[in-house]
Amino acid sequence: MVNSVIAGLTGGGVYALLGLCVVLTYRLVAVVNFAMAAVGAMGAFVMVSLMDAGLGVWLALLAGVISGGALSALLGAVLVRWFGDHDERTKAAVTVALYVALMAIGLRLFGSTTTGARRFPRPFDAPAFTVGDVVVPQSVLVSLAFAVLITVGVGMLLNRTSVGLRLQALSERPATAQVVGIAAPRLAVAVWAAIGAISALVILLVAPRLGGDFSTLGKLITTALAVAMVGAFRSLPMTLAGGLLMGCLEGFTASLGAVQQYRGVVPFLVIVVLLWWRSRHEVWDTAHSR
């Protein structure tokens, strides 16, 4: 049992990364982005396809990250240009539509679960150390470090810099921000591009653990949203903790015969309970208005 929990914990870093991507997008541009994993997967598949075609790793990585960024910027431009005045729900619906479209295109371009499996680069696969029966590879430490970097980096960006201040203004009161002279559309599209690039990097990091084909990677958005819920779409450190919790729970349920069959459900049940516990003192009409 202890081994299983440790084994699950080694996957916590990648779950945290997925959740952080969602929260980061929400904090910076106030959109729940359902297409996040699919956009990242597009970037990741551009990279592995270029590598299969003979391009070097670094150039392919650059191309993959740029295409993830470009696709995300395009989505951002559409949202800013045509849906700028709409509420969060409409924007989320637009990203759902894009998710469906991207999944269909990806399936056609890159193949299904059995025919589209790709070999992703695993540069950090050497064992770092062993705990009990579990070999912990360097990639676990890299994922965790990247997750901490995002948590601390984005936190500092938002709270300590003038760009962060403008971003917060933009995400919370876009119209007012524009009135006081913040170049909203250009800044927002730039942020979307950065988010796309980070998503592509995150998908590349999680792929060796969570899925090697386009549809599996695109569908990781459900896991990402669940982790983001732990942080209530707001707190980056709580999201990081949520990812680790998710990993632990998966390992724990895999080790218990009685709950094994419900492995996929248990983490979500726990998250629901956690959300209820967090909101137990809140008054409904104030708690749910941003």
């Binding site: 996957g11 060796p208 090697g212 990993g247 996929g264």
Partner: protein, 384 residues
Amino acid sequence: MKRSLTGAVAVAALALSAAACSDAGSSTDGPIKVGSVNGVTGLFQTPEVPQAVKAVFEEVNKAGGVNGRKIELISKDDAMNPQRSTEAALELLESESVVALVGSSSAVDCGLNRATYGNSGIVSIPAVGVDPACFTSPNIAPVNPGPFKLLTAMLYYASETLKHDKVCMYYTVLPGSGGGIDAAVKEWSDITGKRLAVKDTSVGEGDPTPYLVAAKAAGCQAILYNATVGPWFAQAQTQGLQDVDFIMGANSYTDANAEVIPDGLNVYAGTEWQPYTDETLPGNERWAKIVDENKIQKTAFSQGAVMAADVFVQVLKTIKGDVTRESVTEAFKKMRPIQYPMVGTPWIFGPGEAHSPIQGSRFVKVENRRWKVLPEGFIVPGKN
């Protein structure tokens, strides 16, 4: 769900009464009409199957047909959609008056249409039998072993050919197939007297590390596995499972999967027909010639298509007199076994309430990112 089921039953009942009035499938001139239900779009895609069946029929037609009559295939795409599958079967039986179904490849056809086929007295010879109903119906006899006979063969290969005592199973189970898996494991236990060391059917999407660590702790020597390939084997390498034999089913036997399995791991796959990656194997020359000439995708499913069409033509040629739905069904129920080199046991339809004529599997192993055919030939449980 309940409503759509009632709807389907009503449609089927209507169709049956219509069938009683029409003289379906009894024309004696013009082409012999044959139908198939194939997944061409949707989640289960097998566009190469109807293409390959058509190619075989074209070949027969060019050589003069059967008793001077040409064979025509009418293939319907069901897109893995239950309603479309039911409609496709009814359309083939009623509007097209087909004499038999040959080369179906759909994930839902057998389960939904078995009663319709039974009541219409028509036989179906699917190229690919997917769900358990394909192997337990009086009017359906596929040309592949199917996932459950294949599983028995995989277990037998692990315990008898590779001689492992601790055989473990890490599976993802689709709704409705749990019983089939239990029956397959029981059949293996009855033959060999052995039991599974670990049986875990909860593998899904997500980080595979906890399962691999548990398998290592349980001392598994052979692991049967059927879920996503990439992450499982990447993490198996990380966790140091280099001395375990992993055995996968035919669904994992694709070129893309061979490419992603890391060096140093022992990964096998059980195939349903002679492995398609080696065209020199018995029976594969004919298949390769047909798919090459017609530029059809080379997959295991297209092997099933060629085989289904071949056995159909062979039985059709034995019919004396009119070729009608009744005479075709009778010919299949009274046929003699056909030795077909692409599979492990002879194929026969015959009387009986359930048909699962093909047993056994031939195994391939990943070497240098390619599937290599192993020399043992077909492994048939209880016979090797």
